[in-house]
Symmetry: C2
Subunit: 208 residues, 2 copies
């Protein structure tokens, strides 16, 4: 009669934090931030709701940590792709951009997270800071690769070009996220490479 209390194991602190963040990311991705409730996150992580308060002061803190982790890893992985690519500036740029349209940078889960957090970016100053940092980091990596192209270009033009190229990527992400069935496999990547090449006056399609 005295109810069977749930068995549990002590996991390392890092492991539990990561599990909670992973559960949060999955839920935001699937259903939006509003559905990542404390209870739903705990359930997904195989844990009781009260435990979340032991690792994160508040639910919003957990959401912020999840957003930061996803965004930072996206930039890092794109950069790795660029560094592994060939010799020419065109090849590195094409690899960087192309990675933004292929897994693991762009998989449905991350796209969902990115879209699900968008309105939180506008509302929460702490999240906006995370967004600003990671956005500028990604854009600056992009601008650095653009600067290495063999073309005359002043600083202001490089900035504007980086903003435009980043906008192409973001815009295609969004359309792909909102209407996944409206585009053929690989179509968005092809359009993105072609458009960015046109903006910069170089040919990227075959460079990677």
């Amino acid at each position: 009669m005295t109810g069977d209390r749930r068995k549990f194991r002590r996991e390392g602190e890092e492991k539990r934090r990561e599990a909670l963040i992973a559960a949060t990311v999955a839920l935001v991705s699937e259903a939006g931030a509003g559905f990542a409730t404390v209870r739903a996150i705990a359930d997904r992580a195989g844990v009781t709701p009260g435990l979340i308060r032991h690792y994160f002061a508040t639910r919003e803190d957990l959401l912020r940590a999840a957003y930061r982790q996803v965004m930072e890893s996206m930039t890092a992985e794109s950069l790795v792709a660029a560094e592994q690519a060939g010799e020419t500036p065109e090849a590195r740029l094409a690899a960087f951009v192309g990675a933004s349209f292929r897994p693991p940078v762009l998989d449905p889960q991350r796209l969902g997270v990115w879209a699900g957090f968008l309105d939180m970016v506008r509302r929460d100053p702490a999240v906006r800071d995370i967004h600003e940092t990671t956005y500028l980091s990604y854009r600056n990596q992009l601008q650095g690769l653009i600067a290495q192209l063999d073309r005359p270009a002043d600083e202001g033009q490089l900035r504007r070009e980086a903003i435009a190229c980043n906008a192409v990527i973001d815009g295609l992400w969004m359309e792909g996220s909102a209407l996944p069935d409206a585009f053929a496999e690989g179509e968005l990547a092809q359009i993105g490479l072609s458009a960015i090449g046109a903006v910069l006056g170089v040919k990227l399609e075959g460079a990677a």
Copy 2:
């Protein structure tokens, strides 16, 4: 002691519906869809919560109506700008694109609505239908204007160009919405016109 019951006036059905939609749009714009609660909407519209149920079967219905209204008017107003513009295809295209970066098409409120609804688009099939319809409508208008340019281009290329140009606009909207202070006045419009011109191989900056 017997509480003073709130005075009220009967408004026309259309007027009330519009007022409720306007209140919804304002709230979604300012704080995101999650904060557009029945009570908050009613309060903003100067009405009691119960009345909403008299005009909309459910809260989600009201949100859908608000989204549809905003999206449809954006396309319509961009098109008006194009039709009022000069003779040449370049001038009409530049006017259409330029209008997407200036009021009344792009004001902070609409940007907020657009961002606030993004995750609802992914989740709610009815909202996705609205999005698909209005997105394709806008993109087709764009494609029609692109087709009138004096260049050789087959149907597939026109489609890809329209997708790319639309992505530029969406991406710049999103960055402007997320980080309003990161860009100078008119900077996004300038970047957008320049980038779209590059994608299409025409010069749009001075054409409007």
